[in-house]
């Protein structure tokens, strides 16, 4: 069995935390992510969304089942070609914005001129040009998240995983960052998987939204959005947008209720 058809694929993946509590966190679940697709994943809190991302990124090994990326099994390490953006600020506070963005390229041993060219390009694309020499502490949360996205972008990943990247930002900043994410997706042609708890964010950004059940998380529905490729945050005013969000909520509501029950128990 290989992941030939899909860019990334999970088959029968579970994740169980051993120990006295023995938490069955995830699955068993199957997932095919098509090359170049923008897939959003929503689910009730605690359903294992982040665990799913960890398995796909190679940050956590599945307890059973298989994870594939570009015809190779993901086992224990992050495969080349995968970039991850976390919810928390992951910029290195001791480096300038430019050095943060250049970090991965330097470790990869590229030559100076090429690093400068790529860093400048990524900074410009993310609107960070004039902050190149600033330190993260001097920037707002949204700007720091841009630094982290730029640091991922320069490495030209073919599969970008984002774990609630705008969760800590205010609503307006989130909408604008969503636009930037769409621009980035169009420009790089990368496959994108976005974990989010915000239904509107998923409905606005993705080609397809996967809805997960309460823990142990499985996929209960995949909802295609039908947006054109050159969409932006203005789709929120389209009449279909409300119907789409309502459809996602109708799938999610019973699961969220169940998750609340789990939390109370």
């Amino acid at each position: 069995m290989s992941g030939a058809a899909a860019h990334a694929r999970l088959t029968g993946v579970t994740r169980v935390y051993a120990g006295p509590t023995h938490v069955h966190a995830l699955g068993p679940l199957d997932l095919d992510v098509a090359r170049g697709e923008f897939l959003a994943v929503v689910g009730p809190s605690g359903c294992g969304k982040s665990t799913l991302l960890d398995v796909l990124a190679g940050l956590a090994a599945p307890s059973s089942g298989e994870a594939w990326f570009e015809d190779r099994r993901i086992a224990g390490t992050v495969p080349d070609g995968i970039g991850v953006v976390f919810q928390e600020d992951a910029s290195f506070p001791w480096l300038t914005v430019a050095d943060n963005v250049a970090f991965g390229l330097r470790r990869a041993g590229l030559d100076g001129a090429e690093i400068r060219r790529r860093v400048e390009d990524a900074l410009g694309f993310m609107g960070l040009g004039e902050f190149a020499r600033a330190y993260p502490a001097q920037l707002s949360g949204g700007m720091r998240q841009r630094v982290c996205i730029a640091r991922t972008l320069v490495l030209a990943p073919r599969f970008i995983l984002l774990d609630e990247p705008f969760g800590a930002l205010d609503q307006q900043t989130r909408l604008l960052m969503g636009d930037e994410l769409l621009r980035l997706w169009r420009r790089t042609g990368a496959t994108v998987l976005l974990i989010t708890h915000a239904l509107d964010e998923a409905a606005m950004l993705a080609d397809r939204v996967g809805v997960m059940s309460a823990r142990p998380g499985r996929f209960i529905a995949f909802v295609p959005t039908g947006w054109p490729r050159d969409r932006d945050s203005r789709v929120v005013s389209a009449p279909e947008f409300g119907a789409l969000t309502a459809q996602l909520w109708s799938h999610l509501r019973p699961e969220s209720l169940r998750a609340m029950g789990q939390a109370r128990a």
Binding site: T77, V78, I82, V84, F86, F92, P93, W94, Q138
Partner: protein, 247 residues
């Protein structure tokens, strides 16, 4: 105004306030307690030209260098070890914090009995002043590393060595330098106190000897020189500290 210019302005302002306070103390208490700023500076300059002063300064410098080196190495290594070994840290941290609250001067007789008069006692006294803060700050630095930075290191496919060098080390370095700065001034304090009470050499001895001989000029001038040296050393460490803490 540029950053260095602002710092120079602040330093001058502090200097002016201190000089006024000093002159005020002289006006209030008279020459039996302190000598006035101008005369003291002149005598301090004279002291800096005498071989006897430098012998004492060298004694203090040696004790301070030994004590600081020992406290810094013990503290940083201890803090790193405790930071990586969670259980030991949970047990040790409250003990260290409690020990730090002990007025260390009360231990001085014990130190003297253990090490005798002279250099070892001064060094030991300096070390017990300086070692705990740097241990605690190093410990909290290691513990305080945000997990997301280590996850980022994995995502960027760093080897364990690269993670140590490019993520762990810089993440804790700034805190450790803050710890070393505290360690330096506390170690100096310990060494000077040691010299004041049971020593025939060093700047602490010169100060206490000046008091015993009613040589107020000597006492005030040595205090001035110690203060200037300590402030300069602190400024140097603080500048490093600021560079590392950035922003």
């Amino acid at each position: 105004m540029s950053e260095p210019a602002r710092q120079a302005r602040d330093a001058l302002a502090i200097l002016a306030v201190l000089t006024v306070a000093w002159q005020g103390a002289y006006e209030y208490a008279g020459a039996v307690a302190v000598t006035p700023p101008l005369g003291t500076v002149a005598f301090a300059a004279h002291l800096l030209g005498s071989a006897r002063f430098w012998e004492h300064a060298a004694a203090t410098g040696l004790a301070l260098a030994d004590a600081f080196a020992i406290a810094a190495v013990l503290g940083v290594l201890g803090g790193l070890a405790l930071g990586l070994w969670r259980y030991a840290a949970d047990v040790t941290e409250p003990v260290l914090a409690a020990l730090y609250a002990v007025p260390k001067i009360t231990l001085y007789p014990v130190i003297l009995l253990l090490f005798g008069l002279g250099l070892p006692a001064k060094v030991a006294f300096g070390v017990i002043h300086g070692v705990i803060p740097v241990t605690l700050l190093t410990l909290s630095a290691v513990r305080g590393i945000r997990p997301v930075l280590l996850r980022t290191a994995r995502v960027l496919r760093l080897t364990p060595r690269e993670t140590m060098r490019h993520v762990l080390a810089p993440a804790v370095l700034a805190e450790i330098v803050t710890g070393l700065r505290l360690c330096f001034s506390l170690t100096l304090l310990g060494v000077l106190i040691g010299e004041m009470f049971a020593s025939q050499r060093g700047l602490g001895f010169l100060i206490i000897n000046g008091i015993n001989n009613h040589d107020v000029r000597m006492t005030t001038a040595v205090v001035l020189l110690v203060v200037v040296a300590a402030v300069l050393a602190n400024a140097l460490l603080l500048a490093t500290d600021r560079t590392l803490h950035r922003g």
